[in-house]
């Protein structure tokens, strides 16, 4: 199929039209990073140009953040919670998705609808009663409360996403293997899962991102500095009485986003396909 060629002038105009969108998307991050690298003197000089660094970049906000606050503990908590919740959710989601996409058993339709409905339940609807459940489980103010509750929104997402991927693996390939003497489990492990690897990567990436970004549960279920996650730590513990905390605050926001940005840079295409899967598939 021939790609329609546009005259150069139209092309330049298209790119110009793109500029405001790009500026809108990226500017907050530019400004955050810039602020985190400025000296306090320049930061609070009302006659300085806020878009540039004139008095030399400084890492003082970052060193303060790393050595004088519990930032590293918060990041460790985030990594622990996110890692375990992601692993558990991808496994549970994978087998549930396989059952929904491939197996016939009574109640499969109802279960599929149930998963879809759960996928749409916003976390802000349930955090109040869940706080009670967490309390009863003896997990109040513990990062393990997050490990237990994050799968409630990760599993429906992974199931929904992977169901789409499993449907793309032709049934015949699996049936062939089973005719050759493989059990269903072997066919799943050696045929279906390897063919669905892009889907598994996508599910893991999204589960990681969603739990790293989760805020309302973390804010509600944990509070002591040893248990909170990076987002909660930065938003609640770095804001002090005096007003001169903006450099450190922005440094925290930038650093706590780094794990996600790294994943994002390497797996951009998976993010694009995963984002559309929920709505289009």
């Amino acid at each position: 199929m021939a790609v329609r060629r546009r005259p150069l002038r139209t092309k330049v105009l298209l790119h110009l039209a793109m500029l405001p969108f790009l500026a809108f998307a990226v500017f907050p991050f530019y400004h955050m990073t810039l602020t985190s690298l400025k000296t306090d003197r320049e930061l609070y000089d009302r006659h300085a140009v806020p878009l540039l660094i004139r008095q030399g970049p400084t890492l003082e906000h970052y060193t303060k953040l790393l050595w004088e606050t519990a930032f590293l503990t918060w990041t460790k908590n985030s990594l622990l919670v996110t890692g375990i919740a992601t692993a558990v959710s991808v496994v549970i989601g994978t087998i549930a998705a396989y059952a929904l996409a491939r197996l016939k058993f009574p109640g499969v339709g109802t279960f599929g609808t149930g998963i879809f409905v759960t996928y749409l339940v916003p976390t802000s609807l349930l955090f109040l009663p869940l706080a009670q459940v967490v309390h009863w489980l003896g997990l109040a103010d513990s990062k393990w409360a997050l490990v237990v509750t994050y799968p409630t929104f990760l599993v429906p997402f992974c199931t929904w996403l992977l169901m789409g991927y499993f449907r793309t693996v032709p049934k015949e390939v699996e049936e062939c293997a089973m005719v050759d003497g493989a059990t269903r489990i072997q066919a799943l492990m050696r045929i279906v899962l390897p063919m669905a690897i892009p889907g598994l990567i996508c599910a893991a990436l999204f589960a990681f991102t969603l739990s790293w970004n989760e805020f309302i549960y973390a804010l509600t279920f944990t509070s002591s500095s040893d248990e909170i996650t990076a987002s909660v730590g930065v938003t609640s513990e770095l804001i002090r009485g005096d007003i001169y905390f903006w450099g450190g605050l922005m440094a925290g926001a930038v650093l706590a986003s780094v794990p996600i940005v790294i994943l994002y840079v390497f797996f951009l295409d998976y993010y694009v396909s995963g984002l559309t899967a929920g709505a289009v598939k």
Binding site: A25, S231, T235
Partner: protein, 311 residues
């Protein structure tokens, strides 16, 4: 790919054999595979939801036994100014934010669908606000709207769009609402643009070529081909976005805490303030249940019209 044939040796126990046979049986394997997910949903979604219903009908408070009070919480809410304000805010916030995301999202998707020069880089940049933790990026916006050092006002003044010192964004009623809407649009736009782009890509090119051959103008092609064929995707995106905008918490909590004077409170942030910070769990649960009708509506429309072909 070689699949090793499985031979059950004489050493294999009877029960091992039984299990293996069972696992090959769809009627056993199916329920076994969905059980973990089912348990999770039953214990940590369905059960808390029933608890929310009970709380909403009781006068539960933190650290006190509760009594059944019927619909008193729901009636009481309508007598409080903060709730009435919140109710109004939720619709204003959701309506305006979704409308902006829709219009800007379609425009951005159309642009992204063109042959651009650094396509991957542009896509990466456009999607960025969606990927970064919202609570953290909202801190960046909080600083951008700071009353003394706002870079938004500085730029507005430099461009001659504002009179110095410019508005106090987070301290004045309507400006604060505009600010939280702006951040929500910023954060939600990538979802609209990228999903609609996927919808655009799936429209057959032949339709446009035929229309062009018939002399249809660009705007006629948009209104008569693009928009009608994009409708199913548009419906899904708008429904998804409606429920998640309506239930938004992070942006308002970080940017304004619901202030000034409740003018930006949404159901989720008011739930937290009443249910946790003031300890009135019953009232808090009643507020959060106002999200439920919207959820039911979205689920109903989705199941009825959008996913009919699946189940």
């Amino acid at each position: 790919m070689a699949v090793g044939s499985v031979r059950v040796g004489p050493a294999a126990s009877r029960s091992g054999l039984r299990l293996r046979e069972l696992l090959d049986h769809e009627r056993f394997l199916g329920p076994a595979f969905v059980t973990p997910a089912l348990l999770l949903i039953a214990l940590l979604v369905a059960y808390p939801f029933v608890m929310a219903l009970y709380f909403a009908l009781s006068n539960a408070q933190i650290g006190r036994p509760s009594e059944f009070v019927g619909l008193r919480n729901f009636v009481g809410l309508w007598q409080s100014d903060s709730f009435r304000q919140t109710f109004q805010n939720a619709f204003v916030f959701t309506g305006i934010a979704v409308a902006f995301k829709l219009v800007l999202g379609i425009s951005l998707a159309l642009l992204l669908n063109e042959q651009l020069w650094v396509k991957r880089l542009i896509r990466g940049a456009v999607l960025l606000p969606w990927v970064i933790p919202t609570a953290l990026s909202t801190l960046g916006w909080w600083w951008m709207f700071n009353s003394l050092y706002s870079v938004v006002n500085w730029s507005g003044i430099a461009l001659g769009l504002m009179d110095p010192p410019g508005p106090n964004w987070l301290g004045q009623k309507y400006y604060a609402m505009a600010a939280v809407i702006a951040v929500n649009v910023w954060r939600g736009l990538p979802f609209f643009a990228i999903t609609l782009l996927a919808g655009l890509v799936s429209i057959p090119k032949e339709l446009y070529e035929a229309a062009e051959a018939d002399g249809a103008s660009a705007s006629a092609r948009f209104w008569n081909i693009t928009l009608p064929l994009l409708k199913p995707v548009l419906a899904v995106v708008v429904l998804f976005s409606t429920i998640f905008t309506f239930s938004d918490f992070n942006i308002v909590y970080v940017l304004t805490h619901g202030g000034p004077i409740n003018s930006t409170h949404l159901f989720a942030t008011l739930t937290r303030q009443i249910g946790l910070e003031s300890g009135q769990i019953g009232q808090g649960a009643a507020i959060s249940l106002y999200l439920f009708p919207v959820l039911v509506f979205v689920v109903f429309v989705q199941l009825r019209f959008v996913r009919r072909q699946v189940y």
